[in-house]
């Protein structure tokens, strides 16, 4: 009754250049299909440009939806530190952004003490056309240009705004594992 069948035939006639048709006999045990999210992440991972300052670590290589990114900035105030972020990607990727969290307690205006990151493309400005590379570029940028106008750590943002030199010294001391304003930080200096 549905006229789709005849349409389908027409369409195939128009496209008949196409080579190997899929299909094959039905039956046999059900095989797991490659999901759209997984295929997209696979592609995104292939396109990561990590350069010399970043590397990845996959605790389970079979699960590419969960990994750690290490960043070692080679310039700016955070130079000399090693920072790591967990990436957790949901099956709804790329409709939803990846969930990214800093694993160390660091002194940074855009990263809070629990590791939450204020980066627009991880939340309000995420779009499915963005890829994982856009996210790592964004993270890298946060270390080069900490931004006092989007504070997640209000104290750090105030310090950056009020006295840039003192802020720099506080960053150094926090990276060495010291305290700033009575708050202790993780040692990330290498």
């Amino acid at each position: 009754m549905l006229k789709i069948w005849s349409m389908k035939k027409e369409q195939q006639k128009a496209e008949n250049s196409d080579g190997g048709a899929a299909g094959g006999a039905a039956g046999g045990p059900k095989k797991k299909k490659v999901t759209a999210a997984q295929l997209r992440v696979q592609k995104d991972l292939n396109e990561l440009s990590l350069g010399t300052t970043m590397r990845t670590d996959f605790p389970d290589p079979d699960n590419i939806l969960s990994f750690i990114l290490y960043i070692e900035p080679d310039e700016g105030m955070y130079k000399g530190g090693r920072f790591s972020f967990t990436f957790n990607i949901t099956p709804n990727f790329p409709h939803e952004p990846p969930k990214v969290q800093c694993r160390e307690k660091i002194y940074h205006p855009n990263i809070d003490l629990e590791g939450k990151v204020c980066l627009n493309i991880l939340r309000e400005d995420w779009k499915p056309v963005l890829n994982l590379n856009a996210v790592i570029v964004g993270l890298q940028f946060l270390f080069l240009e900490p931004n006092a106008s989007d504070p997640l750590n209000k104290e750090a943002a105030e310090d950056l705004r009020n006295n840039r030199e003192m802020f720099k010294r506080s960053v150094r001391s926090a990276m060495m594992g010291g305290s700033v304003r009575g708050e202790g930080f993780d040692r990330v200096a290498i």
Partner: protein, 432 residues
């Protein structure tokens, strides 16, 4: 006063006008058309409704009243008191019962001759064999994830040799005064994954606004949800359906709101924000469900041209600023990870090493991949990059496909190559 015509029961009268529509050709009816067989076909066909919520109630009622006789409905949810304002098949005494079951029983009782089979479970609980029994699928879902799943399943089911493996998917969706109805002919027209950009990802407030300058009650609730919860972890895992958890968030949000002099934080707003509930408007559901149902009727009987082929496949409706509707053709995307790449058959020797398989992609005329990365679902076979993953998967290159890596005949693999940034490939292994 002369009495009207008397029917043996009220039932035949109920279908009288419907039969005029589905058995007689109209000015736009595609030819050839045989009304008699159309109606008979409809009596026999099996149609699946996914979702028995706001849209689902409307869909079930409309489909039954449009003459569909054999309907199945899937919904895993139970009835909540807050559903009763628009999900009109439910009564207060039904609170706590399964939506699919109550909706099916209600419509069966009201419309004689229709059989509705409820399934109180997730769509993911069924496999292709289940979905294969239907001729038409109508979705009234509120989750993108569920939509993507059923879309991928229906696209994957298409076997080019077998016509009746193509199951038209009619999808309805609403958000406040806005909505859409669309028809997907799996593998033929643009699929839901192709159209993913039509769904704006949920509007999120910048994290720093939540953290430092909340202005609205919603900001306080989101703060409690994404920041306070993680910090204090009152329960190991947030369960959005647990009143105790919502109460915790509500109280946190309330304190935060008081601190910033913001009013309007309530328990139900907390629940709405946390569960990302967009206020549903009953009448928008009616408009969209009616459009979906009419398309189902036309697809089933061919009594008039329908949405989906060859041109227009998407109808958007907006009541935000007066009324605006627009029907257009959403193009199929060549690089769609679901329908743009149908899995091609790949004949391989199970005794091949993975290296041999990887090398073979370079010479295959349809692929010509110089740096292919290869994965099966749940198993990373070989990734050319990033370097750490390359090192971890390199040992796989020496292993044989069947024995060494555990791949089986008919298994699907995904292949990507940075040289083809926009395309990925899927292959179905065929062992020699």
């Amino acid at each position: 006063m002369s009495p009207g015509p008397v029917y043996p029961s009220s039932e035949p009268a109920r279908w009288k006008y419907l039969d005029r529509i589905r058995t007689r050709p109209g000015p736009f009816t595609p030819q050839p058309f045989n009304g008699e067989t159309s109606a008979k076909y409809m009596d026999k066909m099996k149609i699946l409704v996914i979702g028995a919520g706001g849209l689902g109630c409307e869909l079930l009622k409309n489909l039954a009243l449009s003459g569909f006789k054999n309907i199945h409905v899937i919904d895993m949810d139970t009835i909540d008191i807050s559903n009763l304002n628009r999900q009109f098949l439910f009564r207060q005494s039904d609170v706590g019962k399964f939506k699919a079951e109550v909706a099916a029983a209600f419509v069966e009782k009201r419309v004689k001759g229709v059989k509705i089979t409820p399934h109180n479970c997730k769509i993911q609980d069924f496999d292709e064999d289940f979905y294969m029994q239907f001729q038409l699928v109508v979705c009234g879902l509120d989750s993108i994830e569920a939509r993507r799943w059923i879309n991928a399943t229906l696209v994957n089911m298409v076997d080019e040799e077998l016509d009746d493996t193509i199951k038209p998917l009619i999808d309805g969706g609403t958000e406040g005064f806005k909505g859409q109805a669309r028809v997907i002919l799996p593998n033929i027209t643009s699929c839901l994954e192709c159209q993913l950009d039509m769904h704006a990802p949920r509007a999120a407030v910048p994290l720093c606004t939540l953290a430092s300058i909340p202005r609205q009650p919603e900001h306080c609730i989101e703060w409690a949800h994404v920041i306070a919860w993680d910090k204090e972890k009152p329960f190991p895992q947030l369960d959005k359906d647990d009143p105790e958890h919502i109460t915790w968030l509500y109280q946190k949000a309330l304190l935060r709101a008081q601190e910033f002099n913001i009013s309007g934080v309530t328990y139900s707003l907390t629940q709405g924000v946390v569960k990302n509930i967009i206020p549903a408007i009953a009448a928008t559901n009616s408009v969209i469900a009616a459009a979906c149902c009419n398309e189902a009727l036309k697809i089933a009987t061919n009594c008039a041209p329908y949405l989906g082929y060859p041109e227009n496949n998407y109808m958007m409706y907006s009541g935000n600023d007066s009324i605006y509707t627009y029907t257009f053709k959403h193009e199929k995307k060549d690089d769609c990870p679901v329908c743009g790449v149908s899995a091609r058959e790949l004949t391989v020797d199970p005794k091949w090493t993975l290296q041999e398989l990887v090398d073979s992609f370079a010479t295959r005329p349809e692929a010509q991949l110089k740096k292919p990365s290869v994965r099966a679902e749940g198993k990373t076979l070989y990734m050319q990059s990033p370097p750490s993953l390359e090192a971890q998967t390199r040992p796989n290159l020496e292993k044989t496909l069947a024995e060494g890596l555990g791949l089986v005949d008919g298994q699907e693999i995904g292949v990507t190559d940075p040289a083809f940034a926009t395309v990925s490939f899927k292959f179905k292994l065929k062992f020699t």
